[in-house]
């Protein structure tokens, strides 16, 4: 679905490439989480996949980048509407400013595509139900909270039924309920064959939901693999990514003999609880305490 071949890009004002020699294939129906330090190229990668970079920012790309078989260098951002949904980090920047209620805001993109009214209503109501926005339907997009605006931005992308969803820290301002709804929605999308590229700093949900984690460092892919491998890599902090506390606790417990040597380090609560329970059990047996 997404295919980069030896892709590099330098911005007009940049002294060094924002992305370097990216080789990446994300198949249909995969949730791929991208992590990395500030300035590692995450926003640029999101921009390239969604067609914003370099068409609206300038920049000199080499190599090739394709989404759904289309060569992005020859595709205008407007041609990707309906194909790629982008949810930006600051939801406020994404409001149309032209609509007076959440329901109308959600319908805005569909109106522009000329989708018929019955279909439009069906899609908008379904997305509001999925994201817990139904009770807010008639409020202005400007009088809801920051977190609710974030859900609205995600909803505005979802109603378009894109084949690829690109989300930049989609749950950063959400409470546990809102974040849970968003990730449940991403799982539903995966089941429907939608490709999801997720940019995150907080790793607990990506560790559970993502099929794959990609680490960017200074514009390059420095690690790529399943969450259990990448997120337990001892170099993670060097790459500017905070390890999960579960992983840190197990690594330090292992130094005290309180994590079994042959057990992989955990990235989820369940794996951590199982591992520590086993360690406590064997400590009792071994020590006869």
């Amino acid at each position: 679905m997404i295919e980069f071949r030896n892709f590099s890009l330098t911005y007009p004002t940049g002294s060094r490439p924002a992305l370097r020699e990216i080789d990446l294939v994300v198949p249909r129906g995969q949730i791929c989480a991208v992590v990395g330090a500030e300035g590692a190229g995450k926003t640029t990668l999101a921009g390239v996949i969604s067609g914003v970079v370099p068409h609206m920012t300038g920049g000199d790309p080499t190599g090739s980048a394709r989404v759904g078989g289309r060569l992005l260098a020859k595709t205008q951002p407007s041609e990707l509407v309906g194909e790629v949904g982008l949810v930006m980090q600051n939801p406020f920047n994404q409001l149309s400013g032209a609509r007076f209620s959440l329901r109308e805001e959600l319908a805005f993109g569909l109106e522009n595509l000329g989708v018929n009214r019955a279909e439009m209503i069906r899609r908008v109501e379904a997305v509001m139900a999925d994201l817990g926005l139904t009770a807010l339907a008639s409020l202005s997009p400007y009088e809801i909270s920051g977190g609710q605006q974030q859900l609205l931005a995600i909803g505005s992308a979802l109603v378009m039924r894109p084949a690829v969803m690109v989300l930049d820290e989609p749950t950063s301002q959400l409470d546990a309920v809102g974040a849970g709804l968003v990730f449940d929605t991403l799982e539903t999308l995966r089941a429907r064959g939608v490709t999801v590229v997720l940019f995150e700093h907080r790793l607990e949900r990506p560790a559970r939901y993502a099929d794959r984690v990609l680490v960017l460092g200074e514009g390059r892919i420095v690690a790529d693999g399943p969450p259990t491998d990448v997120l337990t890599d001892p170099r993670l902090a060097e790459w500017g990514v905070a390890p999960l506390r579960y992983t840190t606790a197990a690594r330090r417990a292992a130094e005290r003999g309180l994590w079994e040597a042959d057990r992989p380090l955990p990235v989820t609560l369940e794996a951590a609880a199982d591992g520590f329970a086993a360690a406590l059990k064997s400590a009792r047996t071994a020590g006869g305490l």
């Binding site: 500030e38 920051g146 301002q173 409470d175 809102g178 506390r245 609560l269 520590f276």
Partner: protein
């Protein structure tokens, strides 16, 4: 009390009641985290502290002065507010000018302005970006510029709205050090956050808002015990708290260090540790 809020009600023109009678007193030097579900009234409450929202009824006292009688510029000497979205507050052509704007506006003498600006850039990790245009920086960096520009105003009270959003490992570490440093300087820090790990590891007191009211107000560890406020279960608790509970420990742990201490006790004695050790040591 550096902040005293009494029976504060805020109703928006459309009839929505954002705050339904909030009372809260904060002592100078406290580190208070305000949590609550989306739409609970957290940001509205913060807006009252800087005068961009005014009470429908009730009172807000900031630094010993009745905030309702004060202008926004006057309150800005007492409360520095770092917005959730940095783009709401950035306007200058370079990072250094942005950060220098506040102290200049407050009429500080040149040497104090320079000292504050230099310090604010350093503690936010932005010294090398002093001459950059804020719009050319990443979202995380712009958030730190917004933070630096508030720090440079040297206010006794600092309010942070979702400070960890968009911040990488290094920046969160800087932020944690900064909260500690500001606390040592006697500043009062109020943070609105959903990040329970950040809150539990760096703040002393938690205020939980729900539907415009204070649901819980007290020490973080007591809140995490959950007995006194069942609403705690609606929050994503710190990773170590959930893990400790998963191992059957009765008292909550918050940090990796306290978890490892408790784990060692458990392994040595063979029983669940009954009483908590001091947290955040």
């Amino acid at each position: 009390m550096v902040l005293r809020i009494d029976s504060l009600i805020h109703r928006y023109p459309n009839g929505t009641t954002a705050l339904a009678g909030v009372s809260l007193a904060v002592r100078a030097g406290e580190r208070v985290a305000i949590m609550g579900p989306n739409g609970a009234g957290k940001s509205t409450l913060a807006r009252h502290l800087i005068g961009i929202a005014r009470p429908t009824s009730g009172t807000v006292e900031v630094d010993g002065r009745d905030a309702t009688g004060l202008g926004i510029a006057d309150l800005a000497r007492s409360v520095g507010f770092v917005f959730q979205n940095p783009d709401d507050q950035l306007h200058a052509a370079t990072v250094a000018k942005e950060v220098g704007f506040g102290p200049r506006n407050l009429g500080f003498p040149a040497d104090r302005r320079t000292a504050l600006t230099t310090w604010a850039l350093r503690v936010t990790g932005l010294t090398a970006e002093a001459d950059s245009h804020p719009r050319h920086l990443s979202f995380g960096e712009r958030k730190r510029v917004a933070l630096a520009s508030v720090l440079a105003m040297d206010t006794p009270i600092i309010v942070l709205d979702e400070p960890t959003t968009g911040q990488d490992h290094r920046s969160v570490t800087l932020l944690e050090e900064l909260v500690g440093d500001l606390h040592k300087k006697g500043k009062t820090i109020v943070a609105i956050t959903h990040d329970t790990d950040f809150c539990a590891e760096n703040f002393d007191r938690i205020v939980v808002l729900a539907e415009g009211r204070v649901r819980w107000d007290g020490p973080v560890e007591r809140w995490l015990e959950g007995a006194e406020d069942p609403s705690v279960s609606a929050f994503e608790q710190p990773q170590m708290t959930r893990l400790g509970r998963g191992l059957g420990w009765p008292a909550p742990v918050v940090t990796v260090d306290s978890f490892l201490d408790r784990l060692t006790d458990h392994a040595e004695t063979g029983v669940c540790p009954p009483s908590p050790r001091p947290l955040n040591t």
